[in-house]
């Protein structure tokens, strides 16, 4: 009756052998293809460096003016613009400007990547129930797998640095982009689609003229979520050498520097709120045509 109390697990030797062979297999793969894969990502590396140089190289008043202008164009609300500018001024005043710019540039790259990968996958998924059934569990894994776990193979393959950091962030931040693109397109009113069909639209015309514009507010919500999740990964990414606001936080954890941690943490919160308010207000403005209902 022993087996009732102790789970009949795999033999210890077999288990060890299994783990060992998988590890060795992956190590061999890394040795064999590591440099090739690294070369594959070199355009990403240059893009990252370019974005970082751009943000850190610009004079700070210009950056603030630029972000203020984007906020105004996207939201048309003075309150949000003033809020953005004050937050940025405070961050600069507490001497976190350089790190903040590095983080912003990385978030920018991650968001662009997530959009570029996520929207096509989301579109494909909205057109095929089978693909949706395949992709959904993968997205679940991406979202729930502890990020440290997939950091291990990424670091083994690509070493420490910006590129593996970005990959880790994108893996975590991509699912909402895909999910909400898929959802947005699937929610488009069937009557409108039928009308588009009745006038002889090709499927590309239907996508461009009907589905994407009507799904856009939902897609914007996806972009918003992606940005927020990317920001949440900043500290973890800093563990594998991504520079920015995450590194001081990491240092603060290691050395119990309470104030340093709080300052940098608040700076992350600050830029998160800026991004959130701008992207949300923009998403809302896209829906303006829905609000004015005939009385």
């Amino acid at each position: 009756m022993d087996w009732l109390w102790k789970f009949p697990s795999m033999d210890e030797d077999m288990l060890r052998a299994l783990k060992k062979s998988v590890d060795e297999g992956f190590r061999a793969f890394t040795r064999g293809y590591g440099s090739g894969i690294e070369n594959l990502f070199s355009p990403l590396q240059s893009f990252l460096i370019w974005a970082e140089r751009l943000m850190t190289g610009m004079p700070w008043p210009l950056v603030i003016a630029l972000i203020g202008a984007i906020a105004w164009l996207a939201t048309r609300s003075w309150r949000i613009v003033i809020g953005c500018i004050v937050t940025l001024l405070l961050i600069g005043y507490f001497d976190m400007w350089e790190d903040t710019m590095k983080t912003v540039s990385m978030i920018f790259v991650c968001t662009v990547l997530s959009i570029a990968i996520g929207i096509p996958i989301g579109i494909a998924m909205s057109r095929s129930d089978r693909l949706q059934r395949i992709v959904n569990p993968i997205l679940d894994v991406m979202q729930t797998m502890p990020s440290f776990v997939y950091l291990i193979p990424v670091v083994m393959l690509l070493g420490i640095g910006r590129v593996p950091g970005v990959i880790a962030v994108v893996i975590y931040a991509l699912p909402p982009m895909i999910r909400l693109t898929n959802l947005g397109i699937r929610m488009v009113d069937r009557d409108v689609l039928e009308a588009a069909d009745a006038f002889g639209s090709s499927s590309w015309q239907k996508l461009r003229n009907v589905q994407l514009p009507l799904a856009l507010p939902t897609i914007m919500a996806g972009i918003n979520q992606t940005i927020m999740m990317a920001l949440a990964m900043v500290v973890i990414a800093s563990m594998i050498g991504v520079q920015g606001l995450g590194q001081p936080v990491l240092k603060a954890i290691a050395n119990q520097y309470f104030t340093l941690g709080v300052f940098n943490g608040l700076a992350i919160v600050g830029i998160a709120i800026i991004f959130d308010r701008i992207s949300q207000a923009y998403g809302l403005r896209l829906q303006k045509h829905r609000e004015v209902v005939h009385g």
């Binding site: 009557d191 409108v192 039928e194 009308a195 588009a196 069909d197 009745a198 006038f199 002889g200 639209s201 090709s202 015309q205 003229n209 009907v210 514009p213 009507l214 045509h289 829905r290 609000e291 004015v292 209902v293 005939h294």
Partner: protein, 361 residues
């Protein structure tokens, strides 16, 4: 515009995964209920044969669930038939490949929907140009053509409004403008006015009739409202449970209902306005002492008014070019109004007729 007729032949539509297998049994007489209960398939349309003449308005009438919306969607193949054919001129719409079908929908048909189907993120003008836009017509050209129709349907000055800013009636005008801008020979109207309130509906019917006088498109109009059907339809087909139970002109339907179902339907109809003198006149022109001449196409109500005003008992019916084509008498007109109700004692008829006469001013 040269409009060809649409011929629907032996059209069957069965909904379900093994639809094709059940065409045979249904042809041999399996009933709708049996098909549904025993095999879980739904009979949408059964052996539909309708000729829709070019250049006229054909109304397909039926209550909800009769298959009328399914039927109209076969004309531009938004729904694929299970068996049968839909011929436009000498092409079978059901045999077109994807690209041919797209061309057919773009160039030959335009559709107006019950729920409007407007693009909410586009304003009135951008909605109206949609058909031309996907055909690749240039911006200047398509907007000019759209503006013309926006004006014609009475939406001048609303080009920059979004659909949500408009009332239901106005949204449907946008739907109509969009369809007309497409400049197609076939205009499909799927319960286009059913969502509108009664006054606006009559208003929109007038818009359609006025436009049709000059456009002469092949219009297929779906409705559940008999009054609407009788007012608009040059020809009417009545559908029940996926089958055509009668087709003909308005007068055919009202004067000679095919079965009790239709009899019940036409009971409440104001016959005096629906029936025209042509339908009841006798070809002889013997009784025209009064010299009263009534043009063909006059409604019975108007004919009675003229007869009683002239204090005459009969009048000649003349065609558009002044030719005498027949005559009608007061009693013939009244007989067509009261109809022959089954089971009504003959004696009752004169009494009703007398009432009808005293009601005439």
């Amino acid at each position: 515009m040269v409009s060809q007729s649409i011929n629907i032949r032996n059209l069957y539509k069965i909904f379900g995964p093994r639809a094709r297998d059940f065409v045979e049994p249904v042809m041999r007489g399996m009933s709708k209920t049996e098909l549904n209960r025993e095999h879980g398939h739904v009979l949408g349309l059964k052996d539909i044969n309708i000729t829709i003449p070019g250049g006229g308005i054909t109304v397909i009438m039926g209550l909800s669930g009769s298959g009328k919306s399914t039927l109209i969607r076969h004309i531009n193949r938004l729904i694929d038939p299970t068996s049968g054919e839909v011929r436009y001129g000498d092409v079978d719409v059901c045999r077109m490949d994807k690209e041919q079908l797209r061309q057919f929908r773009q160039k030959k048909t335009a559709m107006v929907f019950q729920k409007f189907g407007l693009l909410p993120h586009r304003n009135v003008l951008q909605n109206a140009v949609y058909g031309l836009e996907i055909q690749g017509v240039g911006k200047g050209d398509r907007e000019e053509r759209a503006q013309h129709w926006i004006k014609r349907v009475g939406l001048e000055g609303f080009s920059n409004h979004y659909p949500n800013q408009l009332s239901g009636g106005m949204q449907q005008r946008v739907g109509l403008a969009r369809a007309l801008t497409n400049d197609a020979e076939i205009l499909l109207m799927d319960e286009a006015y059913s969502a509108l309130d009664p006054l606006i509906r009559v208003d929109m019917q007038t818009v359609l009739l006025d436009l049709q006088k000059e456009l002469k498109k092949t219009v297929v109009f779906i409705t559940h409202d008999l009054d609407e059907a009788l007012r608009l339809g040059d020809r009417i087909a009545i559908l029940r449970d996926g089958e055509v139970i009668q087709q003909g002109t308005a007068a055919d339907i009202v004067l000679r209902p095919a079965d009790e179902y239709i009899t019940a339907f036409v009971k409440e109809v104001n016959r005096a306005r629906v029936i025209q003198v042509d339908a009841v006149m006798s070809p002889t022109s013997a009784l025209t002492k009064s010299g009263l001449r009534i043009p063909a196409g006059t409604a019975v109500e108007e004919a009675l008014r003229q007869l009683s005003a002239a204090n005459a008992s009969a009048a000649a019916v003349v065609s558009g070019d002044g030719q005498e084509i027949g005559s009608v008498s007061m009693s013939e007109l009244i007989r067509c109004l009261v109809g022959h109700e089954p089971g009504t004692p003959q004696a009752a008829a004169p009494a009703t007729a007398a009432k009808a006469m005293s009601a005439i001013p």
